[in-house]
Amino acid sequence: MREPRQITATQTMMTITNSMVGVSVLALPRIASEQVNSGAVLITILGLFLAFVGMMIIAALGIRFPNDSLIQSSKAIIGRPLSYLFGFFIFLFFIIIVGLITREFSFILSSFLFPDTPATVLIGTMLIVVAITTRNDITTISYIQFVYFPFIAFPILLLVFLAFPEMDIRQLRPFVGNQTTFQDFIEGSLIIAALPFVHIGSFILSIYIPHTQSTKHAIRGSIFGAILSGTLLSLIVLVTVGVFGMNDVRNPLWPVYVLTRMIQLPFELLERLDILFLIIWILSAFTTILSGYLIVIYNGSQLFNLKSHRVLSYLMLPIVFIMALYPQDILQLYDLLRTVGLYGLLITMLYPLLLLLVAFIRKKRGAVNEA
C-alpha cells in the first residue's frame, strides 16, 4: 500500500531528534568517560559525527531511490537473494536493539520509581502502547513525534541551563583526556556511534524517505535533525562531565539522572526536579522505542511482502517482549548492548555504504516520478 507523501523536513528533524534522545542518554556521559576520561565531550562529538556520516549515506541512497525504502532499493542494487539476506539481518538486529532498550527503560524505572513492579509489566505496558501507536500510518506517527518534540528538547535545554553554574571548567580539561591514545579515541567514537539510539535515529530516516514530501525535505530534515540531536547530546555530556568530573561520572549507572537530583530551580520553587525529569525522560524513551519498533515492523513487512507495516504491529510484540526479558541483570544488558551495537555498525553504516557504492558502479537509479 502506498501511503501519501506528506512528511515535512521539520517533522523529519523532530523525529530524528526524538529518536536520538532516548533511553541510553542517561548513561551516555558514563559510557563516553569510561573510554577517554576527560575527553568525553570530544568523543561524543566524534561518535555523533560518525553517526551523521551514516545518516548521510542513507540520505544519499534516498536521493538515488526517492520512492523506495532500503529493502526495495537493495533489491534493485544487489539482487533479490542477497537483499533478503541483509534485510533479515536488519530485521533481527532491530528486534534485539528494541528489546534491549525497552529492558534498559524498565531497569531505570524500577530503580527509581517502581521498585516493586515486575519488569514484565513495565516492559509490557511500554510495548503495548508503542504497538498501538504503530497502528497508525507513518505520516500520523511523524505528527505524534512532532507533538512530543518540545517536551523533550526544552527540558534538556533547561537541564543544561540549570546545571551550567554548577560546572567546574577544570573537569572538562584536557579535552583530549589524560593518558589517552589515538586508539582509545577510535574505539570510543565507534562505541558512541554504536549506541542503540544512534542506530535507531539514523535508520528511521530510511523509512521516512519514501514518505516525505520530496527528497529535499528528507535531506534537509536529516541534516538539521543530526545537528540538533548532536548538539543536545553533546551538551548533556558537557554539563554532566563538567559537574561530576571524569571519575565521579563513572560511578553512578545513570549520571544524568543523578545530575537532575543536584540541580534546583531558582528561588527553590520546587525542591526536587528529578521526578519531573524522569517523567520527561519516559516520553523520550517512548519516542525512541516507537521509532525502533517502527523500523522492526516496517522492515519486516517489506521482507515478507506484506501490504502494510500495521499487519505486524501486534504480531512482533511477543518476540520483542521475549528479547527484552533475555538479559539477566543490568551489567549483562550493557555488555550485550555494546557487542550487538558494534556489530550493528556493519548493518546500519557499512551495508548502506556498500549499497551506495554498488548502485554508483552499476549505475542503478530508482524511478523518478516526483509528485
Binding site: T125, R170, Q171, N178, F244, N251, R261, M262
Partner: protein, 401 residues
C-alpha cells in the same frame, strides 16, 4: 472481533495501569531524617544476616554503631502556621540505634527493630564521628551511593566527638533537630559563611585525581546547639585534620565562595582593630611549570565593608585610614591563606584542587610525572604556592567617621 480485542485491552489496562505494586502509605514508612555513625563501644550484636559462629570481617572502620533519627508521622509541622507550641523534639522524632559489621549491615539491623520500611529519601544530615572518619569512609560512601533513595544534597558532617550526640540535641527553634541542623547549614551557605559542601560536592572532590575532599566539622554546644567549628579535610578517604573555625572564612576566599559574609578582625595598631566583612570574593589560579615542578600563583580579591571599630581614634572618614586598613588586611590575609595552604600541604590533603589545575592545564606533565592521585599528594606536599591578596573597602556603614 474488533470489539473483543478492545474489551480485552480495556480489561488488561485496568489490571496493568492502576499501578498497585508500589502503593506505599506514608505511615508505612520510617522516614529517616538524620543518621549518625560511630564506632561501636561494645562489640556485641544479635546477627540477623549471618550465623554467629562465623567470624565476619568488618570494613576499615571496625564495628559500627548507627543512630537514626526518625520522623514520627503526624508530629511533623506541615507549614509555618502550625509552628509554635505543640510537641517538643522528644515527641516529634524517635532516635534508634543499631550495631553492625558494616554500615549496610547496621541499617539492616535497624530495620529489624522497626515495623515499617526504612526510607532514606528525606535523609538530610549524615554525621560521621571524627574517629570513624580517621579510619576511612569508603564503605559508608559506597552505601550512600548505592542506595537510590539517598540524595546528593544531603549534608555529610564530621562531629568532633560522638556523632550520635548531634542527633540528641534539642534546639529550641525547630521541632526536628535534623531539619534545624540542615536549615542552619543551608543558611550558612547563603550568608557566605560555609562553602557549598553537600555530600554530592564532597564525593566529586573525593573522586577527582588532583583533589581531596573536606566536610564541615561540627561540635555540640551544651546539649542544645551545634556549632560549625571548621572544616575537616581528608587525604583520600581518611580524615587527616581540621581547621579552626575562623579559617573557614579564608577557605571561602580561596575557593571564591559568593556571596561573601564572613567577618575578619584587622589589627591596625596595638590597641586598634576594625571589623571587615567581605561582600564579594574572587580568586584566580595560574599554574606554570618551572624545572619540572608546578608553581602556583593564587590571587585573591576581597571586597568588603567596615562593620565596626574598637577605638574612637580610628578616623574612618579619611582615605589614608582606609588604605592603611586595606594594606594591613592584605598582609594579614596573605599570611592566613598561606598558613591554611601550608597546613593542608603538611597533611597531603589538596582541598583546593590544585592538582586538578595541573591535570587540566599541564596534561603532559600530569601524564608523564604524576599519573595517580597518590603521586600527586606527594608532589603537593612541597609545591610552591604564591598568594597575592587585594582588599578593597567599599563602605564603612552609615556613620560618617
Amino acid at each position: 472481533m474488533k470489539h473483543n480485542i478492545a474489551l480485552f485491552l480495556l480489561t488488561l489496562s485496568i489490571a496493568l495501569l492502576s499501578g498497585c505494586w508500589d502503593r506505599m502509605e506514608v505511615e508505612d514508612r520510617s522516614t529517616v531524617l538524620g543518621l549518625a555513625v560511630d564506632i561501636a563501644e561494645e562489640e556485641k550484636e544479635d546477627p540477623i544476616n549471618h550465623s554467629d559462629e562465623e567470624e565476619i570481617p568488618t570494613a576499615e572502620v571496625g564495628m559500627i554503631e548507627v543512630t537514626a533519627q526518625l520522623a514520627v508521622p503526624g508530629q511533623i509541622p506541615l507549614g509555618p502556621s502550625q509552628g509554635g507550641g505543640g510537641a517538643g523534639p522528644e515527641e516529634s522524632v524517635w532516635v534508634v540505634k543499631a550495631v553492625g559489621h558494616t554500615l549496610s549491615e547496621a541499617v539492616t539491623h535497624l530495620q529489624q527493630q522497626l515495623s515499617s520500611t526504612i526510607f532514606l529519601g528525606h535523609l538530610k544530615i549524615f554525621i560521621i564521628s571524627d574517629e570513624v572518619a580517621r579510619k576511612g569512609i569508603n564503605e559508608i560512601i559506597d552505601f550512600m551511593k548505592r542506595n537510590p533513595e539517598v540524595r546528593r544534597d544531603a549534608w555529610l558532617l564530621v562531629n568532633g566527638e560522638r556523632a550520635d550526640e548531634t542527633l540528641e540535641v534539642a534546639p529550641k527553634l525547630e521541632r526536628i533537630p535534623a531539619l534545624y541542623l540542615s536549615n542552619m547549614l543551608d543558611n550558612s551557605i547563603k550568608m557566605g559563611k560555609l562553602p557549598k559542601v553537600r555530600a554530592g560536592r564532597f564525593w566529586i572532590a573525593l573522586e577527582n585525581d588532583g583533589q581531596d575532599g573536606y566536610l564541615p566539622y561540627i561540635t555540640v554546644k551544651s546539649k542544645e546547639n551545634i556549632q560549625v567549628s571548621g572544616v575537616g579535610y581528608f587525604r583520600d578517604n581518611k580524615l587527616v585534620g581540621h581547621t579552626k573555625p575562623y579559617q573557614i572564612a579564608f577557605l571561602n576566599g580561596l575557593i571564591e565562595h559568593n556571596p561573601g559574609g564572613s567577618t575578619a578582625v584587622v589589627k591596625l595598631a596595638d590597641h586598634q582593630t576594625v571589623q571587615l566583612q567581605s561582600t564579594k570574593r574572587k580568586s584566580d589560579y595560574t599554574v606554570t611549570l618551572e624545572r619540572q615542578i608546578p608553581h602556583f600563583t593564587v590571587s585573591v580579591e576581597i571586597t568588603g565593608n567596615i562593620t565596626g571599630k574598637n577605638d574612637e581614634g580610628i578616623q574612618l572618614d579619611q582615605n589614608s585610614t582606609i588604605s592603611s586598613i586595606e594594606k594591613t588586611a592584605e598582609k594579614t590575609f596573605k599570611q592566613e591563606y598561606e598558613k591554611l595552604i601550608k597546613e593542608t600541604q603538611n597533611q597531603q590533603s589538596d582541598i583546593l584542587g590544585l592538582g586538578e589545575h595541573v591535570r587540566a592545564e599541564l596534561p603532559n606533565y600530569w601524564d608523564e610525572e604524576v599519573k595517580s592521585s597518590e603521586k600527586w599528594r606527594e608532589i603537593y606536599e612541597d609545591v610552591p604556592v604564591d598568594v597575592t591578596v587585594t582588599v578593597k573597602v567599599e563602605g564603612v556603614g552609615l556613620r560618617a567617621k
